[in-house]
């Protein structure tokens, strides 16, 4: 029988995952303000314009607003504060 040996695990140390509750859902989008968050990937601007147009044509009772972070791939607390201040919901997208 081949000899057994003991060796070290090569992986780093992952953080503890802490569960978070999803934000409360809306009963309906009627009369609500929905932010369309353009994550600034190439062409996402056109995609979000089309999302806004889809809502305008199919759910005109929804007030959509396009918003962008200050730069790509970083958290933007000011943008989040704007959404929290006068938005009812947000849709984020979309990459590549």
């Amino acid at each position: 029988m081949a000899q057994q040996i003991s060796i070290l695990d090569p992986r780093g140390y992952p953080p503890k995952v802490v569960g978070k509750q999803l934000a409360p859902r809306l009963d309906s989008l009627d009369g609500k303000s929905v932010y369309l968050v353009d994550c600034l990937f190439d062409n996402s601007e056109i995609f979000m314009d089309e999302m806004r147009d889809w809502f305008a044509a199919n759910m005109p009772q929804v007030n959509t607003k396009i918003i962008k972070p200050r730069e790509s791939w970083v958290d933007d607390p000011d943008m989040r504060a704007s959404i929290e201040a006068d938005g009812d919901a947000a849709i984020l997208g979309v990459g590549l």
């Binding site: 003991s6 953080p15 730069e71 979309v94």
Partner: protein, 428 residues
Amino acid sequence: MHTHVFERLAKMTARTAGMPTTRQAFVPQPIVGKNAAELRAYIKGNDPVSLRPFVQEVIEGLTGPLSEDDIQGLSFERSTPRLLEPDTEDNLHQLFLDNRWTDTLPIVLPTEERIEAMLRGTSHDPAEVVANLRPAQFREFWAITVEKVAVNAVMAGAKPEHLPVILALVASGITARSSSTTSFSTLAVINGPIRGEIGMNDGIGALGPYNHANTAIGRAYALACQNGQGGSVPGETYMGSIGNGLSYSSVFPEAEERSPWAPLHEQHGFNAGDSTAAVFLGGWYKQSYYGPREHWQERFRRCLTASEVYCPPLIVMDPTAARAFVQLGFDNKEKLIEWCSENAKVPAREYWDDQFANTLHKPWAVAGIEPYASRFKAAPDEMISAFAPEDIHIVVTGGESQPACFMFGGLFRGKDGPNQPMSIDAWR
């Protein structure tokens, strides 16, 4: 909203954020290159993951009632034990392959004796955290300690005297296993006395597989990042579409003694007697020129303007080429870098017709940050320089068998920002 090729990644990211039931809707890949009508069709079509109408997924995601799982989220801890379960060498090699803890080539198994010997290469506490690493923005950070770096250094076949260099590279926080869809690799340049102390090669084949220190250090840096950040698994923690062979190992020293110019670390505030590691994130392209001959300017201009605007050139030059440039009046690197910047001119419309200029440079331009703001204001046919002088770097290395000049795409990055070599001496 995501594109469908990111399904596994998006769901894994939601899980490790403690919200595995995050509402996610998918459209087909790609978004890039599609016109408004094509994107409209995506929105009106089916989600390719759920096979239900895309907008239905979006609307129900905002209005559907929350379940108990949605309210609780998911909490968990993952352990990475110090020691693996004892087993035979063959089985342990297979375990490492099965768990994707290697670069698929054979490794040296990291026994306690080998780790103990490796750790003699540094004075630092094995428990000290060297860096927090992640494969991409918005992924979770994992911590890697001195001991874990040593484990990966043993696996790569490195020697204890290589460890301070490997630690300095990892301490940059720049992963050598970026998940970027663009297939980043990470090159690194070593300067200072350490090059000679550990026998690195700046002669013939400096960038090739001909020197143990060069290649083992590069491989160790890559494996430490791969395992330290929690993996580099295609479809989950690696999304490079084509991949990049430079990711195996791309570390080389500058031939300071045979260069006519100041070495890279002295250009960036270090003294000649300091040892440093400079990390270049990129490796998107490699162009070559052999000279300089009569028409070198035209050839260089073509290389410079062919370079990806987001990934500026790291020019790696044989000492014979460098000395020839001195004969042409470029008696320091800065003069040649200035010439390259002035001659890397492309029409503004071409500069901005680029995925990464649009994604990354445009928000800075809109915010008024230079030089991006001026580039953005330029008329479509106005010729603008794609690279500021501080974006371009020159390193001299090679065996003088050919006056070769290579241009690699590379963003010079350090722990706290651009153009910062990492101290190796700090990790001795």
